[in-house]
Amino acid sequence: MRHRLRDPITGLLFVLPMLVLFVIFRFVPSLGAAGLSVTDYQLGGSWSFVGVTNYARLFDDPIFMGALRVTIVYVAIYVPLTLLVSLGTALLLNSVIFMKGIFRSALFLPYVTSFVFAGVIWRWMYEFDGFINGLLAKIDLGPVGFLDDTALVLPALATVSVWKGFGYSMLILLAGLKSIPSSYLEAARVDGANAWQRFRSIVLPLLRPALFFVIVIETIGAFQAFDVIYVMTGGGPSRASYNLIYALYDQGFGNFNVAYAATIGIVLFVLVFIVSMIQRRLLDRSNT
């Protein structure tokens, strides 16, 4: 009986260190972001309540609207591309036995590196005097300014992020593929279904939960792209890769408009929240 009475206290004591960290460094800043967004807070501490002024300003701010557009275009390029590569490699890995472990390691390798590392090497790949233009010159093409062309910069950055990150989604999808009973596929093969039919009617439906998970994780990640942009383009050329997080960073630490920057953070939160809600809806529907 005695230890049962002590239980609530020991339970709380064990949670306490993490709880303190959470309250100070997660809850307070989360509320703080919402609070800042309705003030004109200046670094140094002076502020007054301004209502929705910061939010209204967003819609009149061509730089913010541009950043929103860049973010959405980037997501629209990155997510299908990374899905294609990770699903393709997962399917290949699932159908090959030969040297499978080595292939999987090689494909997963970039995932453990940093975006800064990826940015350093890929900036050289893309340069006028870089590797890809060196290859193009051999067949009398180019040079192409991948990072200097407003139309090419987002696909170029998305490619770097796909290279760095597809190994993660590949592993998730590979686990999903492995959980499909081979007897289903065997039965379909006996019934004369070709590879495409087996993929359409058996693999794809059974892979849906894994695909959903990957799409949501990758979409949320793409909304938050920053490192690779900072290292490779600095938001350029002429703000063609200036996305939401870059705007947040630039407003907060370049222009010191901290309240306005916090407002951009709230927009990011709302976008991520919407994506999560859509995911929950779709998952609920697919489960019933």
């Binding site: 239980d7 609530p8 020991t10 339970g11 064990f14 949670v15 260190p17 993490m18 709880l19 960290l21 959470f22 460094f25 997660r26 809850f27 307070v28 800043p29 989360s30 703080g32 972001a33 800042l36 670094l43 393709g88 290949l92 159908s95 090959v96 036995i97 040297m99 292939f103 999987r104 390691s105 997963f108 390798l109 453990v112 590196t113 940093s114 975006f115 800064v116 590392f117 940015g119 350093v120 790949m125 590797f131 233009n133 060196g134 290859l135 290279w163 993660y168 998730i172 998970f213 909304f223 938050q224 920053f226 490192d227 900072y230 997080i245 960073y249 907060g252 953070g265 939160f269 929240f273």
Partner: protein, 288 residues
């Protein structure tokens, strides 16, 4: 099945032929997979060639370097600035690993096996903070750290990154599956709580602690945005922030590549030593 049972002599070669046909059909897939794997790994190899190229001598993409040298690597490794950044990254990652493993396993234990008022509400609140992107709290967090005189200090850099709900959730899931009888038996024997934690929880959660440790190490070693914001002096920079600043300082390319190559060594070491933990935990828990 019936055929193999009744006519084993004939069926065995037939099956072998079938599997040979199948593995014969695998060749195009294996070839394609090999091509993708080589493409994925090639940026690493190109970086290595550049890092080993003598300074100011022709190299890729124009021609293969005529000789290779370790000079760039050695110069970086003997530069006090670069070594300082590396040390900072190690401190940032190692301290975070130790404290997160400790606090998250304690909290996970309490959430999994203890009853205390508000437990479920608290767990829910922890999980809810996962919905708030870190970047949305960047500005308030920076203001908070500055007000506490933590800007450009180690504790200001490290402590805000310790509130990690993924870690708590993972530990809770794992500890919940441990049999209750273990804890009850220890209590009946009169073991104090701290001994139950140290002698039952910690030893039994070693595999998941190792996995979590690997991820926390990689998250921090590769982290960029928070160290960029939280540090301002050159001596406090982490390796990622330092690496991103090299381009602006007219740093020779081969030196920059050598620095990047060194920065990725701990990630690759972790990858090759603990690949099994990484790969399995992604497939099983979606840890990212």
């Amino acid at each position: 099945m019936t055929i193999t049972e009744t006519k084993p002599v004939k069926a065995a070669p037939a099956r072998a032929a079938k599997s040979r046909r199948r593995s014969g059909r695998q060749w195009p897939f294996a070839l394609l997979l090999g091509l993708v794997a080589v493409l994925t790994v090639s940026p690493f190899l190109l970086m290595l060639v550049l890092a080993l190229s003598p300074k100011n001598e022709p190299t890729l993409p124009h021609q293969w370097p005529e000789s290779l040298t370790l000079d760039n690597l050695v110069t970086n490794l003997t530069s006090s600035g670069f070594l300082g950044w590396t040390l900072n990254s190690f401190i940032y990652a190692a301290v975070s690993v130790v404290i997160i493993l400790l606090t998250a396993s304690m909290a996970g234990y309490a959430f999994a096996k203890k009853r205390f008022p508000g437990r479920d509400a608290l767990m829910w609140a922890f999980l809810a903070t996962m919905m708030v992107p870190f970047q949305a709290t960047l500005i308030p967090l920076f203001i908070l750290i500055s007000d506490l005189n933590g800007a450009d200090t180690f504790w200001g850099l490290i402590v805000p990154t310790l509130a990690n709900s993924q870690a708590v959730f993972l530990m809770r899931q794992f500890i919940r599956d441990l049999p209750d009888e273990l804890f009850e038996a220890a209590k009946v024997d009169g073991a104090p709580e701290w001994r139950i934690y140290l002698q039952i929880v910690v030893p039994l959660t070693k595999p998941i602690l190792a996995t979590l440790g690997v991820f926390v190490f990689l998250w921090h070693w590769n982290d960029f945005l928070w160290p960029l914001v939280a540090t301002s002096s050159e001596e406090m920079r982490t390796l990622t922030v330092g690496l991103s600043s090299l381009r602006g300082e007219q740093f020779p390319q081969s030196m920059e590549m050598a620095a990047a190559a060194i920065s990725v060594v701990p990630c690759l070491a972790v990858f090759f030593l603990l690949q099994r933990y990484l790969v399995n935990s992604i497939a099983m828990t979606g840890l990212k």
